[in-house]
């Protein structure tokens, strides 16, 4: 592939091969965008009377609760993520290194699992409150204990589980910040915490916004937690309209509005930082961390440990305790199949996402014109769409396609092909691709920006062919990004529930599906084993990601 066809001179073979790649780019993007287009197309259908009912009754609730949820989780993940990033990137205290990777542990914990777990612990009939009542002889109504199953509870759960997204991105931003700028701030009279708020945070704004956006998109897509907590959000409203009222079109229209809202947010943020630049190019000096002493150091350690404890250690322990109750009967051949299924599905999906992401990232780099950038941006929007919506968006056109092929095949060849893609693993993997592509794409992209075109050109001038440039130069530099992209998608697919539920083939179950089935049947203790398996399997990639992040090129550890 020609790296830069525009500046390094034209000849006919460059141009035609460039065009070929560009066509593939548009084809791939179009295919990936289909599910979202299907959802948007629902807006073209007439709006049924169900809308009137929604307006009259629950729509305001849906919107209010969703907005409150977003505001709460936004603040929660912001505070937790930025504090964690600040502590591990800019300060030094005993235990900092451990906390650096421990802060990422909640990523292995799916939100709905942590919701179930904490409910089990903190609910009225749970061990904590029961112990309180027994100790103090209280009855119901005698004391105040915050209700876990509420909007506030949902906000806490989601914040605890989603802050690692903010943490990851902001930490890298802090480490990459020019030390000189921070020293300039101190030189001009600002104390360290003032420097944080006046300089470090504003400069890290793109990373903060990116991290919080990820967290908010996950929040909007979440169904398990809010449904379990009885919070009527927009997403539960979509499901209710679909399942309860039986109005798929109305539900799709609700989805479309949700997506429009998300896109509007993304646009607004982009526009607001048009003129600003956040990056300061400078020679990297050795990072001098702020050494914390005395009570400050103790505070840092306790706050950090508390966050990790609440976000991972406590729920994981509770799961382990529950799992130990019935593990002998639950750990059967069936369970091994589940393990295998979950693992291989996650592996296949992450590899596919990586291949497509690499293709898109390279093509974008080679032909960085508006059209290509726009196409790639569209392909990444799938992350903002809830899993169930994607499932529906994927199911409808693919089933249509299958039926068309079957029809044609029967008419022409008298050979009924039946359903080719629907109901196969391929469809499920495609849905994952649509949903998680942006995760791999962003990672590969940021890795690729480190390889300036001048590196390629100098290699070519030294006689390297394009393939050698890729294998000898790009691959080693990109290795970390590629691995991270692979692992991130792996963990996401492992935890994924709604899409898997809807699209999976016959006789195929995953750990997430099993956990959900058991938990929704209120058999939490039995659900603990597959849940714990998800967490443990997910831990390995998370730790590997941590290791690669800690060894980043600008790590200054």
């Amino acid at each position: 592939m020609e790296i830069d066809s525009s500046s390094s001179g034209f000849n006919s073979s460059n141009q035609s091969s460039g065009r070929g790649w560009r066509i593939y780019l548009f084809i791939v993007t179009a295919v990936i965008a289909v599910p979202m287009l299907v959802i948007f197309a629902s807006l073209l259908q007439p709006f049924s009377s169900a809308w009137q009912h929604l307006f009259d009754t629950v729509l305001t609730d849906y919107i209010t609760n969703s907005l409150l949820l977003m505001a709460g989780v936004g603040i929660g993940t912001l505070v937790l993520g930025v504090s964690a990033a600040w502590l591990t990137a800019m300060c030094d205290f005993p235990g900092r290194k451990i906390l650096s990777w421990a802060f990422l542990l909640p990523m292995a914990m799916p939100a709905y699992i942590i919701a179930y777990t904490y409910t089990g612990i903190l609910d009225f009939s749970g061990p904590l409150q029961t112990a309180l009542r027994d100790t103090y002889q209280w009855q119901y109504g005698d004391y105040y204990f915050p209700e876990i199953r509420s909007l506030g509870g949902a906000i806490c759960m989601l914040s605890l589980v989603l802050y690692p997204y903010v943490y990851m991105l902001v930490r890298v931003a802090f480490l990459e910040q020019s030390t000189a700028v921070l020293e300039a701030s101190r030189n001009l009279g600002k104390k360290p915490w003032q420097t944080l708020f006046l300089v470090a945070l504003p400069m890290a704004r793109p990373a903060i916004v990116a991290g919080v956006s990820l967290a908010l998109m996950e929040t909007l897509a979440d169904y398990g937690t809010v449904a379990y907590f009885g919070v009527s959000s927009f997403t539960t409203g979509i499901f209710r309209t679909w399942y309860g009222l039986g109005e798929l079109t109305t539900a799709a229209q609700l989805c479309a509005f949700l997506m429009l809202f998300v896109f509007a947010l993304i646009m607004a943020e982009r526009w607001s930082r048009q003129r600003l630049r956040f990056h300061h190019h400078s020679a990297q000096k050795k990072m001098v961390r702020l050494r914390l002493k005395g009570w400050r150091s103790a505070l840092a350690m306790s706050v950090g440990s508390l966050i990790v404890f609440l976000g991972f250690v406590l729920p994981a322990s509770q799961l382990a305790i529950w799992a130990s109750v019935g593990w002998q009967e639950n750990l059967d051949g069936d369970f091994i199949t589940l393990l295998f299924n979950s693992f291989s599905l996650a592996a296949i999906a992450s590899v596919c996402c990586l291949i497509v992401a690499v293709f898109l990232a390279y093509t974008k780099r080679a032909f960085a014109s508006r059209a290509e950038l726009g196409a790639v941006a569209v392909a990444s929007l799938g992350y903002a769409v809830p899993g169930t919506v994607i499932a529906v968006g994927v199911l409808i056109p693919v089933a249509w396609l299958d039926n068309q092929i079957d029809f044609l095949s029967t008419t022409w060849f008298d050979y009924p092909t039946g359903l080719l893609i629907s109901g196969t693993l391929g469809l499920l993997v495609f849905a994952y691709l649509v949903r998680f592509l942006s995760v791999s794409l962003n990672t590969v992209d940021s890795g690729l920006t480190a390889i300036k075109p001048s590196i390629d050109e100098s290699a070519r001038s030294l006689g390297a062919t394009p393939s050698r440039v890729l294998s000898r130069i790009h691959l080693p530099i990109l290795r970390t990004s590629l691995l991270t992209a692979l692992l991130l998608v792996f963990v996401e697919v492992l935890k994924e529930l709604p899409t898997t539920l809807i699209l999976r083939p016959f006789n195929f179950n995953t750990l997430a599906v099993r956990t959900y089935e058991l938990a929704s049947d209120e058999r939490l203790v039995d659900a603990a084993l597959p849940a714990l398996a998800i967490v443990i399997i997910g831990l390995l990639p998370v730790l590997l990601i941590t290791k690669s992040i800690l060894n980043e090129r600008f790590s200054n550890e």
Binding site: L248, W400, N403, L419, F506
Partner: protein
């Protein structure tokens, strides 16, 4: 020297070759889309396979998701049977035209008419009742009578029930609309909702636990959840179950509201004979016994023995309303619940 772009042809052929092993050709197998959990149905299906040699393929999911899948797949859908956990979905499937009628005299004779569709498109396979459980130390059985009475002010702040998003509550209200009419039902809903001890949250077992711990005095739940808790390995669930008792509502008038789990054959079924065999198998004596007991439900056939836990609750009068009605009024029920503020 650029890397040559692969031609469209080569890509397509690669994709087809890769996809090829992923789809199987239907042979002597029966495919089921089931809203009933795997653990509650798979062993029975395995028994079927042992007895007849026919392989059964299962995919589980939420009823509406499966229905959507069936609808989009159309006549090429691989599903032969749709198995649900409530009548509403079966009714909806029927309305959507994805089921077909079976001419089975055997099934018609085995299963009571109010527990199957009137045009032979689907058949109930087990019965679950939505009952009242109450805290034994706070409430006397003689204080309870009907669902309707639960709207009385004496129960203010004393009732726990799960969200209106749940199909069982929707069916309950649906049935009420059919019997009482929409106006009376709406009036009842207002009173009922104002008696909630707390905003609906959690599942049926959580409601039972709330009654046991004193958060409320009464809950409306599906009978099999109570059964499940009584027989649970989890000590805390057993303890909670022991603190409550079951009450059969409306014994003096129309009877306790019931729902079914049931199955129908899809229009796209490739193996009609085998599918029918399977449903008949599920209605057979042994199967009924296992199917029902496994989940603490009641069998559809009155001649089949019930489990001991169910026996301990005593006999009861069930509503004989045809369960199709539960589906017919589902949307109206939801809208009424929304208007009454039942979250």
């Amino acid at each position: 020297m650029a890397i040559r772009t692969p031609s469209l042809k080569s890509i397509l052929s690669t994709v087809l070759i890769v996809l090829a092993p992923l789809y199987s050709v239907a042979s002597d197998e029966v495919n089921i889309y089931s809203a009933r959990q795997e653990s509650l149905i798979k062993p029975l299906l395995e028994r079927f396979t042992e007895q007849t040699g026919t392989k059964v393929n299962l995919v589980t999911g939420k009823g509406d998701a499966l229905l959507t899948r069936l609808k989009s797949e159309g006549m090429n859908s691989p599903a032969d049977i749709l198995l649900t956990v409530d009548a509403g979905r079966l009714y909806r499937a029927q309305e959507a035209g994805v089921l077909q009628a079976i001419a089975s005299d055997e099934l018609n004779s085995l299963i009571p008419s109010h527990l199957r569709s009137s045009d032979n498109q689907w058949y109930g396979l087990s019965v679950r009742a939505r009952v009242i459980v109450y805290g034994k130390d706070r409430v006397q059985a003689n204080q309870l009578s009907t669902y309707e009475a639960l709207a009385d002010p004496q129960w203010r702040g004393k009732i726990c029930v799960r969200s209106s998003g749940n199909i069982y509550n929707q069916s309950l209200v649906s049935g009420m609309i059919t019997s009482q009419g929409i106006i009376k039902t709406e009036a009842w809903l207002k009173g009922f909702v104002s008696n909630f001890a707390r905003p609906p949250a959690g599942g049926d077992r959580d409601q039972i636990k709330a009654v046991a711990s004193g958060q409320c005095d009464i809950a409306v739940v599906n009978s099999y959840y109570l059964g499940g808790m009584i027989l649970s390995d989890d000590q805390s669930q057993q303890t909670a179950a022991s603190k409550v008792a079951l009450f059969w509502p409306n014994q003096q008038d129309r009877g306790t509201h019931i729902n079914i789990s049931g199955a129908g054959i899809t229009k796209s079924a490739k193996n009609l004979k085998l599918a029918e065999e399977l449903i008949v198998f599920l209605a057979a004596n042994d199967s009924q016994e296992w199917y029902a007991e496994r989940n603490n439900e009641f069998p559809v056939r009155e001649t089949v023995k019930v489990s001991s836990v169910l026996e301990s609750w005593g006999p009861f009068v069930a509503d004989t309303l045809n369960v199709s009605e539960l589906g017919r009024n589902n949307s109206a029920a939801i809208m009424a619940m929304d208007r009454a503020g039942w979250k």
